[in-house]
Each structure stands twice: as structure tokens, then as C-alpha cells.
Symmetry: C2
Subunit: 325 residues, 2 copies
Amino acid sequence: MTAVCVIGTGLIGGSLLRAAAAAGHEVWGATTSEQEVAQARQDGFDLVTSTEDALTRAAGAGAVVVIAVPFPAVDAVLRQVAEHAPGCTLTDVVSVKGPVSELVFRHTPTTRYVGGHPMAGKSASGWSAATPDLFQGAPWVLTTDEDTDLPAWREVADLVLSLGAHIVPTTATEHDAAVARISHLPHVLAAVLAAAGADGGPLALALAAGSFSDGTRVAATRPDLTLAMCEANRPALLAALDDALGRLGAARGALASTGALRATVTQGHEARKSLDHHRTAPQAQVQVDLTAPNALEELALIGTQGGHITALTDTTATATVPLES
Amino acid sequence: MTAVCVIGTGLIGGSLLRAAAAAGHEVWGATTSEQEVAQARQDGFDLVTSTEDALTRAAGAGAVVVIAVPFPAVDAVLRQVAEHAPGCTLTDVVSVKGPVSELVFRHTPTTRYVGGHPMAGKSASGWSAATPDLFQGAPWVLTTDEDTDLPAWREVADLVLSLGAHIVPTTATEHDAAVARISHLPHVLAAVLAAAGADGGPLALALAAGSFSDGTRVAATRPDLTLAMCEANRPALLAALDDALGRLGAARGALASTGALRATVTQGHEARKSLDHHRTAPQAQVQVDLTAPNALEELALIGTQGGHITALTDTTATATVPLES
């Protein structure tokens, strides 16, 4: 099994360390937080404060390097990767893929980079919140762009499957557009709703029930985490915000003119049903020939169709894809 | 204990019948659904399909009449109240108060009307979803406008307390402005978010996690219920929508120009914290003298401050009010 070097030991990086160790990988890591290093060592993990040392070891061991720091810190880590492990297989867990890919290309183009994004989380953060089962059954995006190195992709994909996640292959551009809609836009709308609600004063807060609590839950996330995520995905988030502004403006216009919200409410209801449908739809099993010249395109198509990869051999990826209703 | 006549046997009306019976009230009701009458009778409840019969009995027994039908059906029920129980103590459970109050004034001004709104619910609807404990610990708004009949208010308030709820006294106008922000706006935003997410196609749905699920949950509500609620509160919801549009437009502008969402995200985070703070703040106990000439104003002030009434005697209301931080 491949060795794994994790830079960053927050919720995702820490859970990755724990899950990789549980799966039998040799695994070590680095974080600049001396407190988290002390905690992790007490828990039996091989952590150091020197990113340089962890990366040098990775270069020697042929380890997969995983960048698990927030987006604003990626640039500095990549400069160190370029210096100490320029030929490594490199992946990350940052919630935007295009901007990370551009930084990799700028700083360390000789690494064999595969963008990654596990769709897992919880409200608590830091090493103390990390658990080895965080990724069980979770979708984990791995980018399959045309310049992706397929053997490196296979190596990272094997790691991801060993952690209990399933792989959603897609391009960086498609990923960023999708998460703008289903992750970053929800954070902005939750912030807007929370502020509009609190402006109603103590009476409004006293009357707030499930619809307000649910709609504002992610506004409880630490602002620096939300900002790092949303601001890094600026172009795709702008498009999603324009879509939401258009829809909200149309709702406002309809309510003001005819008093009717039927179009808004029924469209939203159907859309929510399509989410439930996606989750319960019958699945077709699909095989992708990894030796075919268009293997990367075939993999990306699985993601576009809402499918995911559940198993890999040397020559074949097995995927399930929801059947259209 | 006062007798209770409930018109409408959906989730709220049905739960009210069950809770009132459990509390020892003589209780009966009417619904136009023959199926629900059959079901309710099987469960041992005194239900009829004739609203006229139920109201005539209420007039004879001096019962409190509770209108528990959706807003679009209130007009027709009020015409029957005017004919068969024009002197009764009347309340309702509709989620807007100003528009119901106007209809009461138009159709049956001789009733002693107290607007009501229990802040309780769940996703299932209908008699089969009704439970006697739905109102335990829930806020239940009772309007205290200047023309409110205080003895009638007391009668309805005693009923509400006997069901396990606590009373939030407020004016119809303040209520409608508050629920537009913390109930109706969340429904519109959930619909907008669901539609914007589903437009991202199967990939977006496959990657959707907690933030999208939570933010769209209420879009699963039956559209006719959401529409009845939101459209009835048109002026207050328009103001809330304009507030949300302004905030969302400001977020869009800031992201496009400087790339920064800090103001939006930190304001939203503080607002969400104020909700948690409201729920855990230390409470002061306050007494309102119900024999004082300004008793209705004093009661409404409790609601404005985010407080609620927990007990009543013939002359005094005992309330708790959150202390400001």
C-alpha cells in the first residue's frame, strides 16, 4: 500500500491521517500548530511541525502527498513541495479545484497532480474533531482533466477507496460550478437569511422554528473557513449568485404584481424532489476501460451523469450511475 | 374547563383536538373530509362533516371556536361563524394575523376574536400525523391589539397553556413582520436554492451534502401549504424579500469587485450566534397586572422583548423575558 504524507491536520487532514492508518497505510504528516502536533503524537501519530521534513521523507518514500490546508495557505505549501518533493504524486482536499490546479501549474508543474475534494464534514473542526470513519460512504471528487496523469490518478484513487469513500471523477471546471451551487451558494444564502432574521429583533428570534434553524445552520461555521472556501471559487460562485438573484428577483416581482409565488415554490419543490430522487434512483453498473485512449473522458462522463466509482482493477473502473427517471 | 370546537383537522387542528382532549377539555370538530371524519371517529373523537352543526353546538355550549383551516379557506368558515356562532370567543391557528383579523372584522365583528399562531409543525400533514404533544414547549402567538377583548384573550390563553405551549403576546403587525423573516423568507430562499442547485445537473446533486440538504429541506413542504402561507403575508414578505435581495446583491457586488465576502459572512455568523444566544440567555421573570388599563400594551411588550407567558391567574400574567447580553 502506498505511503501517505498529509500536510495540515484540521478536521479533514486529521481524519485522513486516522483513516489511512486504520486502512494500513504508512502515514505521517506536518502541521504548524505545535499544540496539534503534541495532541496527535499523544494519539500515536507521526506528526512534525516541519513541512520540509515531512515532504523530504515523502520524496524518499515515494509517498502520495496530500495538501490539507485551507486555500489561502496552499500557495506557501506548494512552494515547499516544489523544493522538497518536486516529483511526487500530489493531491489535495481543498473545496475548489481550478484555482488549486493553477497554483500547482505555476509553482510545481513537475509533480503528478490529481485534484481531490472529499464531500464530508461536520460543524466541529481541528485535530480533536477528526475521526477515522469520516469518509465512509462519502463522495470524494478526483479531477480527470485532459492533462491528468492516469497512473497518478489510479494511485490516488486506490488511496481514496481504501478510506471508505467512493470516487466522483469530474473536471475541475465542472466541479467548481457544481460546488458553487450546492455548497458555496448555501453558505451565502444562510448568512443572508440569518442577518435578515436577526434584524426582526428578539420577537423574530423567539418565533424562529425549524425553517429558520435549518436555513441558517451553516452560518454557524467559522467565518474564516466559509470565506476561504467561497472567495476561492469566485467566478463560479458569481454565476451561482446571479442565478439565485434572478430567481429571487422574479419571486419578488411576481409577489408584488400578481401576489403569486406558484412558479417559485413549485419549481423549488420539484428541484428538492429531484435531490431525493437522485438519492433513491435505481443504479446501473458501468465499466470504464482504463487502458483506452479516451479513459479520462469516460471517467469524467461518470461524474457528469451523477455516478461514482466503487472499485478499481489495473485495467478497469467499476462505477454505478443513477438511471434517469 | 372551557369547551373547544375545532374547524379543520389537519396536522395543527388534529393535534389541537388530541391535545385538548388529553388536557380534559370537552372538544369536538368539523372537517369537510369524510375520510378524516371516519379516521378521527375511529380514534374516538367527536368529528362531523357539517361545519354548521359543529358551530351551532359551540354557540350553545359557549365553546371557544378555533379555525384551523388554511388561509384560503378562512373566508368561507367565517361566513358560517357569522351565521351560527356570532357571539363566540374565536381564535385561529393561521400563520398570518393581519389578513385574518381583517376578514373577521368584515364578516363577523361581533365575535370576540383573538388571533393565534402556534409555532409548531413537522413535515407530515393531515389527521394521521396529528399528535397530542405537538405543542409541548412551543411558542404560541396570541395577538394583543388595542381592540382585543381581554376576557376573551384570557380564555384563549388558558386553553393554550393547558395544551403545554407558552404564549407569545404581540400585535398582528409585529407578528406578520417577524414570521415573514423567520418562516416565509426561509421557504422562498429554500425554493430558490433548490432550483439553483438542481440546475447544476446530476453532478451537483451527487455532491450535495449537509449545507444543501439543510438549506432546501422546507422546499419539500407541500406547495399549496407554502403558497397559502407566503401569499397571505404579502406586504410583510415583500419587505423581507427586499431586505434579502439587498443583502444578496451587496454580497454579489463585493465578490465581483474586491473578491471579499467578509461583511456578508461575518454578519450572518453574528446573527446566527444571536439566535443561539437568545435560546440560552438568562431569563428575567416579569409580572403583568391584567387589571391595569394598559394591560394589553404591557403584554405586547413581553413579545417585543422576545419573552413569553408561562402562567396566568385572574389578575396577573407571569412571563419570562431574555436578559440582554
